[in-house]
């Protein structure tokens, strides 16, 4: 059970794609900052280098821009400490972001991409069946996990006036 070292793979990636920034985070995973157009090639490159296990794909809303995060790692039977790699695409516009889908490469991310679309509104080109997964199909309220999301559904009138009954201390 020898610890798995993925540094050579990252050097090879750096050699292949110089524009990529690779950094090791304090909490033990590797961040790979990628630009939008190189994203799919980098993921394909990593897959060929043996990163076969799709952990999950999600997005982070930094209030002015969206950042897509794809987590992969090498599932090598008998290995220890197989570190996680986060492929990050920053600077996506908050509405109408278009990102190539990785479902053809990793079928396991099919629903994760649909959930990210459902929650953040990032459209994935090439996804076999991109529609909302958790929210009802006829949901018009926008994408809930965005920081500026306001629930526009009509407020039901509150039947009992809450304030008067309880004498709050």
């Amino acid at each position: 059970m020898e610890p798995l070292d993925i540094r050579p793979d990252l050097e090879a990636l750096k050699a292949a794609y110089p524009a990529v920034e690779i950094a090791e985070a304090a909490t033990g995973h590797f961040d790979i900052r990628v630009s939008l157009d190189q994203y799919l090639d980098v993921v394909r490159f990593l897959k060929d280098r043996g990163f076969n296990y799709p952990a999950c794909i999600t997005a982070i809303d930094w209030k002015d821009r969206l950042e897509l995060v794809l987590q992969l790692y090498k599932l090598v039977v008998g290995s220890r400490q197989s570190p996680l790699v986060m492929v990050r695409v920053d600077g996506l516009p908050r509405e109408g972001a278009e990102v190539p889908s990785v479902t053809p490469l990793y079928p396991g991310l099919n629903w994760h991409e649909r959930e990210t679309y459902d929650m953040y509104g990032i459209r994935f080109q090439g996804h076999p069946d991109l529609r909302r997964i958790l929210l009802p199909d006829n949901w018009q309220g926008g994408h809930p996990l965005l920081k500026d999301f306001v629930d526009k559904r009509p407020r039901r009138p509150r039947l009992v006036r809450h304030r008067d009954t309880i004498v709050s201390g």
Partner: protein, 381 residues
């Protein structure tokens, strides 16, 4: 000539054997399924949006509610993530208590998963036996944490309260003390319950008819679809995060990882889970020995009332009872987590249904759903 036109039916969301509010759209040609599509979202409680407006300790009760059948493992995952983010050192006694509770919870959740699958296949007695043993674990948990199913027992940095007096008991406790002391339960569990499971169901001819050869899952497809936990191991991939990506103090325990054959089918997923319960019992025994040898009461470090972890991100992978639970925390230095992403194994396993179901009979669909053992709380979050 008049073809038997395909029957489109939907199973659920109030179907008795879909383990909660899952709706599966099925196209049937006569008796065989030609197309299956799960439809989820009926139990979506926006866990991730909620936790963005809560402080770190306040999020812990929410994590219980995701996979409500193994609450301790979820709490454990979240606490590990925060501790890694803030670099908190957890006292050793708390670590042992956490591991013991997590493994007991794994036994309990497997019992229910196996019992529910047995019930769907018609073995009502198997289901009730699972219920009986779960009650014993619940009475233990009630004495330790106060709750029976959702505990809010773990705290960031340790546990809320120490184990009550005399709950560990002595290794000689037998069946009579099964719900009084943990040793009593473990001895009762290993000597009486596990052999009974094998006789009642695993070696039952009709059970084997219904499950063997149903929905085989090759290991490459399992890995490509992100399967994890018992489903992945049943397909012959020896991958257990407690061993391969050790967290907490799991590297101090020795236990082995049950693995199914290459094309693991429903029966292998069943056998792997039964075997895993045996391994969890072994871990609990080792934890109990350590807890008995060094009593103490230091269970949680002094932490400021309002936790403000440094800016940064963490993604930890935890071996939940149903698979790999991923917690991705992003913190901006404030008291509230900026983003919490809960990578749920059941959510990922449900993607296997459209791959596994076609070609099988309608009755097999029940066995398939039972064998991948999904909990809708975790699927919909």
């Amino acid at each position: 000539m008049e073809q038997t036109r395909e029957l489109l039916i939907n199973m659920g969301p109030q179907h008795p054997s879909t383990h909660g509010v899952l709706r599966v759209l099925l196209k049937l040609d006569g008796e065989t399924i030609t197309w299956a599509e799960p439809d989820i979202g009926y139990l979506h409680r926006c866990f991730e949006k909620l936790s963005e407006s809560k402080t770190y300790p306040q999020v812990i009760p929410y994590t219980d509610r995701t996979d409500y059948l193994s609450a301790i493992t979820n709490e454990h995952a979240f606490c590990l993530a925060v501790e890694k983010l803030m670099g908190i050192e957890v006292p050793e006694r708390a670590e042992y208590i956490r591991v013991m509770m997590a493994e007991l919870q794994r036994i309990c959740s497997h019992l229910l998963g196996l019992g529910a699958m047995a019930l769907d296949l018609g073995a009502v007695t198997g289901f009730l036996y699972a219920w009986r043993d779960r009650e014993k674990i619940y009475s233990l948990f009630e004495r330790i944490t106060g709750g029976r199913m959702l505990y809010n027992y773990l705290r960031i940095g340790g546990v809320r309260n120490d184990l009550p007096e005399g709950i560990i008991g002595t290794p000689r406790d037998g069946r009579d003390k099964a719900d009084k002391t943990i040793w009593g339960f473990i001895n009762y569990f290993e000597s009486y319950v596990l052999p009974e499971w094998d006789d009642l169901l695993t070696n039952n001819r009709i059970f084997q008819w219904r499950t063997q050869g149903v929905a085989p899952l090759p290991s490459e497809v399992a890995i490509a679809y992100g399967a994890s936990g018992p489903v992945l191991r049943a397909s012959g991939v020896k991958w257990d995060l407690r061993k391969n990506v050790p967290y907490s103090i799991y590297d101090r325990f020795e236990f082995d990882i049950p693995v199914g054959k290459e094309n693991g089918d429903c029966f292998d997923r069943w056998v792997v889970r039964v075997e895993e319960m045996r391994q969890s019992a072994r871990i609990v025994k080792q934890a109990l020995q350590w807890l008995a040898e060094n009593p103490g009461d230091y269970i949680a470090p002094k932490l400021p009332r309002v936790l403000k972890p440094p800016k940064g991100e963490v993604y930890i992978r935890y071996e939940g009872s149903r698979g790999e639970v991923g917690v991705h925390l992003v913190s901006d230095g404030s008291a509230n987590p900026y983003k919490v992403k809960w990578r749920s194994p059941c959510f990922t396993h449900l993607q296997l249904l459209p791959v596994l179901a076609p070609g099988h009979k309608l009755a097999d669909m029940i066995a398939i759903i039972g064998s991948i053992d999904i909990v809708l709380g975790e699927v919909d979050r």
